[in-house]
């Protein structure tokens, strides 16, 4: 018999459990009942009981006094299956709430019995230490005296010398790990601690070093652990934040969160992508040159597809004449930096990826530093000097250069991948003289055209990440919008190419404005 089973049995005798039907009735009667959802954020986002207040188990002791009203009012806690809510109810009682019940069978039974499900409320920014008020603050203060703590630097030493007898225990919610965690830590969210710790870590002699974000939630976790017989459990002072601040190693864990799995469901369903492919996208680093007509759809779709690190370089500001085609921007952003406007649009679309903005003009002085942070370059720039500069940098660094360009109703797409196929200079050894390069402002461009060409660029970039399909390497796809025709032309490497010929030493960057006669 485990401590958990004993504890659970004791709680069942003390805390009244109510059926989902009784909860539904109580909600309908309007007779002042507070239904509290104590599940993790990830579970809550899949749906909740209408009107339920989300107080994740890990934050319960900290946030209850500021979130719940009258201590005599009726409170019904629920989780997924009806066990965590028993432990939650016990914690609420300790805070002085006298009328606390637990919903039997949890949200699973609520759903199975056909009760209505509501959309979740947006998650508030939760903090640990700052959240504790009144009785919570007193409780935290007491635990700070009772629970042994260890500093990050000390913890590191203990772990290194421990030979496996010491272990880090991450008690944060699953969502929180995405930002980073300590390598080697075992993850067991606070809400599941009582339920799972004995099965996961049967050795009660282990020196468990529990950590949360700032070391407050872990006080409660360690208190629980010690009650369960883990006499050597300690809390990491200052939590993950202090650990990271001390410059100790951290990592961003692999794998998709439940939210990402939901977001990318239609990708993951396809064998050609699957979870492994989606993870590749998450780890990918793609740079979009330009946040204009081509960069807009490219960046938009790459962000939507879940490219984990998406760089945008542009030095321009949004102008009203852009908006007929540059769909990242909007009328209320006229005058705003394009990089900033792009960031806002893309983060609103997909908050799970990292947008890196480079608000500067690309030049031979900064291109090496910028390009080296990315694996794939998507060229959506709008002038010849930059085209050649981007090409030369991609040749120098051996990076695939997804190329798209447009003119009036014509589009061209290809992938220049140094070593695997021709480069831009193999195709066009020299730019046209300015008098032969009519401007877009003079010539115009139909707004949908960059939408099509930029989307094709995004598709090629994603195929490169996934290592799927046939790339446009050595093939130039030309699109004539008026004729509604795609044609494909074969491109070959120029054995005498000034930049990418086999065995050629990189000749260095040149003066691109002079080269292009501008």
């Amino acid at each position: 018999m485990s401590v958990k089973d004993d504890w659970q049995r004791k709680l069942r005798s003390e805390i009244s459990e109510v059926a989902p039907e009784a909860v539904a009735d109580a909600l309908q009667s309007g007779k002042g009942v507070t239904v509290v959802d104590v599940r993790e954020g990830e579970e809550y986002r899949q749906g909740r009981i209408p009107g339920a207040l989300h107080l994740p188990r890990g934050f319960l002791e900290i946030e209850a006094p500021s979130k719940l009203g009258d201590r005599k009012g009726r409170i019904i806690a629920y989780c997924a299956g009806g066990v965590r809510s028993l432990f939650a109810a016990e914690a609420l009682r300790k805070l002085g709430y006298t009328n606390v019940e637990s919903m039997a069978g949890g949200f699973g039974r609520w759903k199975a019995n056909g009760h209505p499900i509501a959309e979740p409320e947006p998650a508030p920014r939760r903090s640990e230490a700052d959240g504790a008020k009144g009785p919570s603050a007193e409780w935290v203060a007491r635990l700070q005296k009772e629970v042994p703590a260890i500093s990050p630097v000390e913890a590191r030493k203990v772990l290194e010398a421990s030979n496996g007898s010491a272990l880090l225990l991450d008690v944060r919610e699953s969502d929180e790990l995405r930002e980073g965690r300590i390598p080697g830590a075992v993850h067991l969210p606070r809400g599941f601690l009582e339920l799972k710790v004995e099965a996961m870590l049967p050795d009660r002699g282990l020196k468990l070093i529990a950590y949360s974000t700032d070391g407050t939630r872990s006080l409660f976790a360690v208190d629980t652990l010690r009650r369960m017989g883990y006499a050597n459990a300690v809390t990491l002072a200052g939590g993950y934040t202090a650990w990271a601040k001390a410059g100790l190693p951290t990592e961003v864990p692999e794998g998709l969160t439940a939210r990402e799995r939901e977001r990318y469901m239609r990708h993951i369903t396809m064998d050609e992508v699957g979870e492994a492919g989606q993870l590749r996208l998450k780890k990918a680093r793609v740079l979009c040159i330009g946040a204009g007509g081509l960069g807009s759809p490219s960046a938009y779709y790459l962000a939507a597809a879940g490219v984990g690190t998406l760089g945008i370089i542009d030095f321009d500001v949004v102008d009203r004449t852009n908006l007929q085609r540059q769909i990242l921007h909007s009328d209320d952003r006229i005058g705003m930096k394009k990089t900033e406007s792009a960031r806002r649009t893309l983060e609103a679309l997909n908050p799970d990826i990292r947008i890196v903005t480079h608000d500067e003009r690309l030049s031979s002085a900064n291109i090496d530093a910028i390009v080296s942070g990315y694996e794939i370059i998507v060229d959506g720039c709008d002038n010849f000097p930059t085209r050649y500069l981007v090409n030369d940098a991609c040749v120098k660094h051996g990076k695939p250069n997804v190329h798209g360009s447009i003119y009036r109703f014509d589009g061209q797409v290809t992938v220049f991948w140094p070593g695997k196929g021709p480069c831009y200079r193999c195709l066009y050894p020299e730019p046209p003289p300015p008098e032969m390069a009519p401007s877009c402002a003079e010539a115009g461009v139909l707004g949908v055209l960059p939408g099509i060409i930029g989307s094709l660029e995004a598709m090629e970039a994603i195929k490169i990440v996934l290592e799927r399909g046939d790339l446009l390497v050595g093939r130039l796809l030309i699109y004539d919008a008026l004729e509604a025709r795609f044609r494909e032309l074969k491109l070959r490497r120029d054995p005498n190419c000034a930049y990418c010929a086999p065995g050629r030493v990189f000749p260095g960057y040149t003066d691109y404005n002079q080269f292009c006669g501008v």
Partner: protein
């Protein structure tokens, strides 16, 4: 000997807006010479004064770049398709005034 010549948008002002025209000639050079007679001014947009294809233009015969066969002397068969592809820089940005240069 009739071949089909596809005209890129920037050169369609020479063909009255037509995206493709029929032309005669047994080699690429002959075709361009014959086209010049009908649509004066177009050849010099494609060829350098010295006679070679301009470095920012590519001519393809049935999807293959003539630079990798016999250049302007590449032989043509009836029904062959010639495609002229100029470099275009445009990305849907704006005129970059300090470069004094039009951009697509």
């Amino acid at each position: 000997m009739s071949v089909l010549l596809r005209i890129p948008t920037p050169l369609r002002k020479f063909t009255g807006g037509k995206p493709e025209i029929a032309a005669e000639g047994a080699s690429v050079r002959e075709v361009l010479d014959n086209v010049e007679a009908v649509h004066p001014g177009m050849r010099e947009k494609i060829l350098e004064p010295a006679g070679g294809v301009r470095r920012f233009i590519n001519v393809f015969v049935n999807g293959e770049d003539i630079r990798h066969s016999q250049g302007l002397d590449t032989r043509l068969e009836p029904g062959d398709e010639l495609t002229i592809v100029p470099a275009i820089a445009g990305g849907g940005g704006e005129l970059e005034s300090e470069h004094g240069r039009g951009r697509g």
